[in-house]
Symmetry: C2
Subunit: 255 residues, 2 copies
Amino acid sequence: MNVLTIVKVGGQIVEEPEALGGLLKQFALIAGNKILVHGGGRSATEMAEKLGVVSEIVDGRRVTDAEMLKIVTMVYAGLVNKNIVASLQSMGVDAIGLTGADMNMMLSVRRPVGNVDYGFVGDVRTVNAQALIELLRSGYTPVLAPISHDGQGQLLNTNADTIAASVARVFAFDYRVRLVYCFEKSGVLLDENDDNSVISELNKETYLNYREEGIIKGGMVPKLDNAFLALSAGLEEVLITSASNMTNGRGTHIR
Amino acid sequence: MNVLTIVKVGGQIVEEPEALGGLLKQFALIAGNKILVHGGGRSATEMAEKLGVVSEIVDGRRVTDAEMLKIVTMVYAGLVNKNIVASLQSMGVDAIGLTGADMNMMLSVRRPVGNVDYGFVGDVRTVNAQALIELLRSGYTPVLAPISHDGQGQLLNTNADTIAASVARVFAFDYRVRLVYCFEKSGVLLDENDDNSVISELNKETYLNYREEGIIKGGMVPKLDNAFLALSAGLEEVLITSASNMTNGRGTHIR
């Protein structure tokens, strides 16, 4: 069975050229089929500030109005995605940057308005596995930006962790899939201020216990929910780690 | 022999959602293989103004410094390219947006510093015809943004008219290529203020005469130079026209 490594990179790493360069070098070393999924870090927020676009935050999540959608499309699909692709090309990786609109790669449904209207935010419904497989077979490395579309001409801001998990799920049947969430810390930490307190292994039960005790909280919760969602589709494992540990297997293994 | 239609769209059309929508509807109607190449109009200039980025103009051409390169990458490869792709998808065209870095599609050399240093501007050296042919054969419609790369990790701002001509040239041997330059006017005009004064046919000789007489001037000169350059590679014809005339054959035919 073919091996496929899906690396999701987000947080501060994406914002710092040097850190990003280091991560891409590690990524380039991964043998076999691979896909990179990136977020945009705070770069879109910074751009919004520069442009004087004020975006509302509700329950810790940003509302994507029309102006904010323009900004995330520019920053994620343009600036971040294309610089990653150009860097990978210089390292001998034949990368191709894609949003969900390109090749109809990720079809989303705009999040329904409940208590909160998050604006132009999409939840992925379909990943075009066939198109991704054709690209991989032809030797290309897809680089996915966190922008999808609704098939009616509307781009939608989409969570990169969820994209990575959704892509992993559709490959789980045909490939031995390894999903790696890379960020600035060495893994899921017992003490968020101590990078040496990495929890080396998590299963659903231990995760729920840590969550109940308040040890695992904040942004780590949706990330781990995505990890377990992907795992349930039959993945080999999910690894949460830092860029420098991407290939040495250190970090938090989700099984 | 397979027919390939390459449409380059630029100028005001790209800036106005309604005009662009109309053009894309016309483009979607074109049967067979097709490629869309777009510029960015004044949208990058407007974004630069909003961000307080001052860019130098030398001999009527913009200098692309590091800040301006960021802006054109955001606007051309992100905002403009991805909205075009999403619109085409909604019209049943399986579009894929690409810069020169994606699939190593367009490899450029940074323009040498002569009397003027134009900054991060690239002149296309190689078009990856094989990758484009594979995409066309698989039923995709490439949408090319005017950004290329140097293979060393550097993105470069690149003229969209030249990209269209370069792409046309590499296909001229294997396809019957029709190159259409679409802009806000109905063709090359005898009187730039009279949209009814379209010159219906131009060859090299009549072009040079009009140029000498000062009738053809300004931005039309590099466009026509590109048209004749493409023609010399064995194209069927080059048509310069408006979006609404894209499929009815009206406009200036370059032969």
